[in-house]
């Protein structure tokens, strides 16, 4: 079981971002392959960035990104928001994920995802996220993800990190 004595918040936001970058991107093969960057993290909140790359394009004539990379980033970002709230770390998995594609992402520009876990119960966590390209009022996509908590397997370090890195700090 996870040792609560490890629950000491890291001192700076930079340290925290670096730690989440390591656990949610560098050591998760698909997130690493996409080149996902952790931008910010706080209790219940997570933000990631996906840079435009020619391999991720869905339509070669327009250079617009395919939906898949956005789906993977939004899934990962919602999962990271859940991890920041787990008082008693346990394995969890995506139960369902809805993506609304509001507009095509402008080619060549990065896409930023911002996720919030707005409700967490013993068994289920509810999240919402938006993806935008600098102006949150002009989203590329919106997501709603539900996560099942206490799924089989052992808790990964990424799933246990919220308490360790953020502790009991209030939502910013």
């Amino acid at each position: 079981m996870y040792d609560d004595r490890m629950a000491k918040p890291l001192t700076t936001p930079e340290e925290r971002v670096a730690l989440f970058q390591q656990l949610f991107s560098d050591t998760i093969p698909h997130n690493k392959a996409l080149g996902l960057k952790v931008v910010a993290v706080a209790r219940g909140l997570a933000s990631m960035q996906l840079d435009w790359r020619s391999e991720l394009v869905g339509n070669p004539e327009t250079g617009v990104l395919a939906g898949g990379p956005l789906t993977a980033m939004l899934d990962g970002c919602c999962g990271m928001a859940v991890a920041t709230l787990l008082k008693d770390p346990k394995p969890f998995a995506t139960l369902d994920l809805r993506i609304d594609y509001a507009r095509p992402a402008t080619p060549g520009q990065p896409v930023i995802a911002e996720a919030e876990c707005y409700r967490i119960t013993r068994s289920v966590a509810f999240t919402r996220a938006f993806a935008h390209q600098g102006d949150p009022k002009n989203p590329v996509a919106a997501a709603a993800g539900t996560f099942m908590l206490g799924t089989k397997g052992e808790v990964t370090r990424a799933q246990a990190i919220g308490r360790e890195a953020i502790g009991r700090e209030k939502l910013k």
């Binding site: 998760i28 394009v57 617009v64 898949g68 397997g153 990964t156």
Partner: protein, 154 residues
């Protein structure tokens, strides 16, 4: 708009080789997602490679990649099975995750639930070894006409 994909579609139809469609989509090539019709049924396969992993501990394939391949499955189905002259534009997709996907190929099939004049509802289902045990299902909406409604987002 999307001339190369529509041209590729016409070529693929003539040769009866649906796999050519994936060659026109950089993301599908990168992900190793391609349609196949070897059994007479149109299926889409995501070949296993290590960068699909989302959980190294189980290990399991990243949920985002399952959503992505279900979306591609629906797109390939619409391109191949309908008389479309335009690339379908995805409006939204809802993915249900039913089982964790193991480090093996994932195969999926799609069907049109409702064909409207402008909007199509598609259901897609993905499995690994046993088709009766799907790993994920999805339902998605696509705009299939009225290019004025939205820019192509495929």
């Amino acid at each position: 708009m999307s001339g190369s994909l529509i041209k590729r579609l016409a070529e693929a139809r003539k040769k009866g080789d649906v796999a050519r469609l994936a060659e026109a989509i950089p993301y599908a090539k990168w992900m190793q997602i391609a349609p196949e019709n070897t059994t007479g049924e149109l299926l889409t396969r995501m070949r296993y490679h290590d960068s699909l992993i989302g959980n190294t501990f189980l290990p399991a394939i990243h949920g985002g990649t399952l959503g992505a391949m279900l979306e591609m499955t629906a797109i390939f189905h619409l391109l191949w099975e309908s008389e479309t002259e335009t690339v379908p534009k995805i409006v939204n997709i809802t993915v249900d995750y039913l089982r964790s996907a193991r480090p093996r190929d994932v195969v999926a099939a799609a069907k049109v639930t409702k064909q409207g004049r402008r909007m199509v509802n598609v259901f897609a289902e993905a499995w690994q070894d046993d088709r009766s045990k799907p790993v994920a299902t999805a339902s998605a909406h696509f705009l299939v006409q009225s290019p004025d409604d939205a820019e192509p987002s495929l």
